[in-house]
């Protein structure tokens, strides 16, 4: 049974650097697919660091790799990028700005563990 969370796509300093270095590299790909969540939320969902999860909104789905971090319970943080684009709806409510943060998402554990990579501390 998937769990529901609030996803906040964020910007981080490392991500800002990679935008200028180029987005073809492994470091950028790792940054934009790394999901940070509260340790207790991970435990409750039966997740361990390095585990792959599928996030789903009513607009699409994308796969991320979990890590623990200083995040309030119920929130998921990930630097914005192509994977978060797939979860975003196109309606701007007449403002020109699509809702880019605070999406309700379903989290589904993918039964496969990959080797973990160095954690990225969530930025601004």
């Amino acid at each position: 049974m998937p769990d529901r969370y609030l996803l906040i796509p964020i910007r981080s300093n490392k991500q800002g650097v990679q935008v200028n270095v180029g987005k073809e590299g492994a470091e950028y790909q790792t940054l934009v697919t790394t999901l940070t969540m509260h340790a207790q939320d991970m435990q409750q969902a039966g997740l361990v660091a390095g585990q792959r999860v599928r996030l789903r909104t009513r607009f699409g789905e994308a796969v991320f790799i979990c890590q623990e971090g200083n995040v309030p319970r119920g929130l998921l943080l990930v630097p914005y990028g192509p994977p978060t684009c797939r979860l975003m709806g196109g309606d701007t409510d007449g403002t020109g700005m699509p809702t880019s943060k605070g999406w309700e998402v379903e989290l589904e554990k993918i039964e496969e563990t990959v080797s973990s990579h160095p954690p990225e501390s969530p930025g601004g």
Partner: protein, 264 residues
């Protein structure tokens, strides 16, 4: 420095006070602060859903009023979440109303890249910061109608020129799919996600490194940049002027002249 956020960001270490509010409660916090600085009664129960206490917001309201010169920085946590322009309007109104007590300004925190520069240049050339249409030969402003995401998602455009941006890695998937379906031309020093779905990618010199340009600080101070490296690639300006010249030579449709936009 008082930091208000839904989570403890790295900035919290530099803050004197950190107030952690619940997601989606920005508008409520700003509106309660507006009431408190005017001395209006606020019930503790009305504050509870924000994740803060009435005492915390009363203390903050007093600090805002007592500041000799205050600045309210607000970021995309306000403008990109539910409420969007209403959240931003509440923050700007709070700063404006604080001027009844002291000097207070508000300043938006910008994202990566020269976002401020794009806003400033569009403002002094068309009077509007974004969402500008020149299709009638004069600038018209209407967010939701002429803004990029809306144009792409509705499928209004039949071709797109992308200069120094990567909508393929930032915009909603329906907008990205429209870029993929229609002719998209990218000008960028790097191959981007948008390049991968574009019909044409033209590599240009990096502005501020191997091409002259102007970057705007977040407080809208322009910083002219001289190139320090040579690039084998043309500048964005050179490519765009060449495209424009080619269209004119072929007797293309309406093109705004410098008289229309007062651009040299």
């Amino acid at each position: 420095m008082v930091l208000v956020d839904i989570r403890e960001t790295p900035s919290a270490k530099a803050a004197d006070i950190f107030l952690q509010i619940r997601p989606g409660k920005d508008f409520e916090v700003l509106t309660i602060l507006r009431a408190l600085i005017k001395g209006q009664a606020v019930e503790a129960e009305a504050v509870r859903p924000t994740g803060l206490t009435l005492e915390q917001l009363q203390d903050l309201a007093q600090r805002l009023k007592k500041a000799r010169f205050g600045v309210l920085f607000f970021g995309m946590g306000l403008s990109m979440t539910r409420g969007k322009h209403m959240n931003s309007a509440a923050a700007l109104t709070l700063a404006a109303e604080l001027n009844a007590f002291t000097k207070f300004v508000a300043m938006p925190m910008r994202g990566h890249g020269n976002v401020t520069g794009a806003d400033v240049v569009l403002r002094y050339t068309t009077a509007y910061p974004f969402g500008v249409s020149l299709s009638r030969g004069y600038p018209r402003f209407n967010p939701g109608e002429f803004s990029t995401v809306d144009l792409l998602v509705r499928g209004d455009t039949d071709a797109t020129l992308v200069v120094g941006a990567d909508p393929g890695a930032t915009m909603p998937q329906p907008a990205i799919e429209h870029l993929r379906r229609t002719p998209t031309i990218v000008l960028d020093p790097k191959v981007t996600h948008t390049s991968r779905l574009a019909k044409v990618h033209i590599t240009t010199a990096a502005t501020g490194i191997s091409a002259p340009g102007t970057v705007y600080r977040m407080d809208e101070i322009p910083l002219p940049l001289r190139p320090i490296l040579h690039s084998p690639y043309p500048t964005d300006e050179h490519v765009i002027r060449s495209i424009r010249q080619t269209i004119q030579n072929r007797g293309g449709g309406f093109l705004p002249t410098p008289d229309h936009l007062q651009i040299a």
